[in-house]
Amino acid sequence: MVGHSRNWPVIAGLGLISIPLLVMYIYLFVDTVTDSPAGSVLPNRFTLEHWRFLTEGIEGKGNIWKVTLNTAIFASVTTTVVLLVSSMAGYALSRLNVPMRRYFLAGVLMLHAFPSVTLIIAIFLILQMVGLYNTLIGVILVKSTLELPLGIWIMKGFYDTVPWEIEMAGIVDGASRFRVWRSLVLPQVQPGIVALGVFSFLAGWSEYVLPQVLAPSSNVQVLSVYLASLIADDQHFDFNLFKSVGMFYIIPVIILYIFFQNKLMNIYGGGIKG
């Protein structure tokens, strides 16, 4: 952030390009609290009735709070699984003499590059077979698995920047290998953990295809699926309601971004302390 006064042409340029996006977001918000006469772009009436779904629900749809809870569970459990597994697997791949490590790493990267949609039929069949179809657990497992390759790679990158000598010092100081990992190494990769956590949470929060295909029933529905079902319903089509639910859906995302934007940069900085 040094010398940002000299960057102002860049900032102005980027700002200009972003204006359409900004206008869309502003309109999204404005439309959720106003009514506009047909054919006009300018609203003429302030109203909160588009937000009524929060208290009264929507006719023929599940309870919005139940759906939100499902989404939160889906996103946070996915995040937890991804963090737990990546932080350990990344360490093992960075430090231990795992046999065939190179092939394993290359394989993991392949998985990441693999478009997950192409797997969906196979996954669908498997979940049905093991009885996890239409359950949150099932879709959480699938989502975490698909997030893991990236997570493992990112965490391995962060572990690679922690000097060996710190671990040797810990061992000589009498700490077990696990203690060294937990008290000495993990704190050094904390920026990676935070960034990966936020990243996975957002990925889980915005995931649509997997829950739509693997857990469509109303008691395990998540917000993205709920939103899609609103738009698919031609019976009572209410565009402002749709926008309000959409707004409701992205508020947590925006809040997370505002709080963690610096930390998210760390993923690309590969462990540079910021």
Partner: protein, 353 residues
Amino acid sequence: MEIVVKGFTKHFGDTAVIENMNLTVKDGEMLALLGPSGCGKSTTLFAICGIHKMDAGQVLFGDRDVTHVPAQQRNVGMVFQSYALYPHMTVFQNIAFPLTVRRESKVDIKRKVMEIADLVYIGELLERRPAQLSGGQQQRVSLARALIRRPGVLMLDEPLANLDARLRLEMRSELRRIQQETGIAAILVTHDQVEAMSICDRIAIMDQGKILQIATPAEMYQRPVNSFVAGFLGDPPISFLDGVVRQGILVLQGDADDTIPLPEHISGQPDGKVLRLGVRPEHYQPHFPTKVKGAVVFVEMQGREILFDVKLSNGDLLRSVQAASSQFKLGDTVEWGVDPAQILVFDDHGTRL
């Protein structure tokens, strides 16, 4: 506690890094492990403290065979070249870590940390983090952390290499003071012969995974086992002259037929034998008897002393260190002498005769 390493061998993949090494560190002494970069000093250290497994051999701490004891239970203190402080902990927490791991009581930990902090003079830094310390201070913290649980042996892996020249001098004597005050046996790994000579009781000099000689600094300087050791110790370094024996006299290589009489203790060498003489700069002086003629080709004023390089007619160099009052100049032709009693003579394998 006496540390004994017997028959230590270590391979990395196919390359043998250490081959059948034997080493003893006596109780309370400071031993230097001296050698060029990459000769296996750190590897030896890591094997003694248990980080590396040995491919063959034994390590004894006193009468206890620790060859198969994990590093955590060997109770060695180690100072790394990069200090390896834990960046997210304060100085206090860093020093206390070995005790925290052992679950000692808070009161005990506090008392011991204060004690050791006083010993290494960092009492007022305890709340800082490593990033807020200078190199010398980090070094002291690292030392305190290594000493706090009263280790059986203290290992120092190039502890001074990352310090600037002035600080290095200061920390050098500090290391010695602290080691002597605690009376803990210490191994100092270094590639700097001045460091090894100035603060260690004995030096083990290594090359390519082998220990060539273990001796006190004075002994090693005066009676090196071979030309490698002779060349490694001493600054400015020793000069070598190659030649062939003819009737008890060494004829230097080249066509110039310069000769140097062999010293008395090297008598009875057969004609035609190839020998190498080592002459230290302090033993090539204007007043010594065995005269060697040459031209001054390089003069370096070092304040208290002047260093001269003298080129002989066959192209070989001899160095001389003289008091700063010396009046010789670049280009002078000089005929200075070598002290015959101090000439080191090596055979064609480099072994000293």
